[in-house]
Symmetry: C2
Subunit: 341 residues, 2 copies
DNA sequence: ACGAAAAAGGAAACCGGTGTCAAAACGATT
DNA sequence: AATCGTTTTGACACCGGTTTCCTTTTTCGT
């Protein structure tokens, strides 16, 4: 009775509405076998009391928590944080909460750790960010544990309902088109680490476009990095040395592109005067570096929202995989190739 | 009996060990009034079965979840993410999980939203990141709701056990000492937004050191930003215009310092040749920008870990406020002032 | 108007733990 | 051996929901 502080329970609602708790439960769960009048009566009481079902109790009864998990091993802070924001967009005003779990994909115990985590926390579902979203054993683990999951990826990795992706390949092709149109012929690539689907997609986009334009891609015009700044420096040093004569360069992410800036600067190569650079991600560094970097932006926040909705309300966002369009953001790191060949 | 898949419960343990579930509960909770023999017997069964208490059930019974919340409205992704890692360090191998909740401190509903969130999720405790860690109403709300909390801050804001802080002021003083030692006399300040304790601390450190060296700080040598890149550009433009003749500049965070780089570049001012710049935070951009930026690094991950420990195990990390030392990271954005005055 | 089927609602058990309080076991004393 | 005061332990209710199963009510065909 004295309810200062402690929130009303389903029993309070039932008593005041003059029905059984099961009926209240039915209202909460939108059971279809309820008379409209009853529903309204109960809903009125719920509204009056400001009743919210206790997630802990539901979690216990349903053997399933109202928690969405974000599993990631992501080198890029901004990406992860944007993703978190997107998930929050989806669960705002619901009883769901977001729990985060950074993992170490190089640890041999990763799967075991995650299994433990899932077993203990009994999450409603998990969101898998690249690169671990590409781990098939992990997806299988989720299935085994009866835990919903959605993989973020840049290509088809799974059946329909578990996937949210972007069109990396196409947009990289258009990046190359853009460079070629400006007159570039010798274009270099800093690709991402093997094992990353996104890296493969972007590389394929690059190769396809070059081929379409009848341009060669010599060995020396390609270098591999690991998506981190330092590896970008190193890769660019390789690309820029000797006689390659590259006039433009596409890096598979912004951090490596920033590394390329660094390498160019050390070598006294002007950007974009002597070398045009395009990155990928549109992370803050792209806007903050000098000159501001032309890069590819993908709608991570929207993708995250969609992924979360797939988990908590499969009806709304559907069983089909969702593909979100990335787009080129032109700033000042691209120009025509230098006149003297 | 058939326990494929579903994990064992306290009942299984009790039955097999031949004791009551309450006794098992006592073992789990390290109750001191247990006979050693009983404890061992039960623990053996627990180990054999690989039993883990179900957090949902405990949450229901205790009216308190095993969830730590991270409340933030932070402009810096890397800071937030590092903080998350630190919390994870603390709760690894415990039953705790970390839930994140970005908030909007400019929203008039913020407190109401948070109240709702706390009421529904019944968190074990929350970690408050700057700037909302400085909101006293919020701290009071936590107390009201019976929710543990720890504030991250750069100065005393609360009583002892609720605080983890850094020594911003001192370290900024040492930054200025360093610049003065190199020969700088006209040093500019880009300060952070009003309302941020950290901004005030850093400003005071700056002013104290300048005063100690007998150096003036004219109006025109100070500009205010909001901790974001663009505001850094703007502030630096103000500082660098006309006749100020500043030879060095301290920005209250790295993003604004990066903005100052940008402004300098646009004006054709060489860094560090004509202008030395020091930032604060040691965020990735400091290492990636050109030239690599001298900045202040503070041990956010350790601070986060300490904060989390304060919540989940007040015994271990103690009731006293913890202060963690920040330190200067010297890179290439600082040099002696230009010879021609 | 009647009986049968369908719809609506309720009682009680259950999810897996913890709290309360009384009972049992134990040790020391007499 | 009986008594008493501590430890230890257990029975049972409870946390706030859901599920199962059964009863009551409504609807409808004939």
């Amino acid at each position: 009775m004295a309810m200062s502080g402690s929130s009303p329970t389903i029993n309070d609602v039932a008593r005041i509405a003059g029905v059984s708790k099961k009926t209240v439960s039915r209202v909460i769960n939108r059971s279809p076998l309820l008379k409209e009048a009853t529903r309204e009566k109960v809903e009125k009481v719920i509204a009056e009391l400001g009743y919210t079902p206790n997630p802990q109790a539901r979690a216990l009864a349903l053997r399933r928590n109202f928690l969405l998990g974000l599993l990631h091993d992501n080198p890029n802070a901004q990406t992860v944080l944007n993703f978190q924001e997107g998930v929050l967009d989806a669960i705002r005003d619901t009883e769901f909460a977001l729990v985060v779990r950074p993992v170490d994909r190089r640890s041999p115990d990763m799967l075991e750790d995650i299994r433990n985590f899932l077993e203990v926390q009994r999450l409603y579902g998990v969101l898998l960010l690249p690169p671990i979203s590409e781990n098939d054993e992990l997806a299988e683990l989720c299935r085994d544990m009866g835990c919903g999951y959605v993989r973020m990826g840049s290509a088809a990795l799974d059946t329909s309902e578990h996937l949210v992706q972007s069109n990396d390949r196409e947009v990289v092709e258009s990046v190359i088109d853009y460079l070629v149109e400006l007159g570039h012929r010798r274009i270099g690539l800093i690709e991402g680490p093997s094992g990353f689907r996104s890296a493969a997609e972007r590389r394929e986009g690059f190769r396809a476009a070059m081929k379409r334009h009848g341009l060669e891609v010599p060995e020396t015009a390609v270098a591999q990095g690991n998506y981190r700044f330092d590896s970008g420096v190193e890769a660019a040093n390789k690309l820029l040395q000797g006689d390659t004569q590259i006039t433009a360069l596409f890096a598979s992410n912004d951090e490596m592109a920033a590394g390329a800036y660094h390498a160019a600067r050390e070598k006294g190569i002007a950007v974009p005067g002597q070398l045009s650079i395009v990155g990928f991600d549109n992370s803050p560094i792209a806007a903050h570096i000098w000159p501001p970097m032309t890069t590819v932006s993908w709608p991570i926040r929207e993708m995250a929202k969609s992924a979360a909705l797939k988990l908590i309300d499969p009806g709304s966002d559907g069983a089909k995989p969702s593909t979100f369009p990335a787009r080129l953001v032109t700033r000042d790191s691209v120009g025509p190739p230098p006149p003297t060949t």
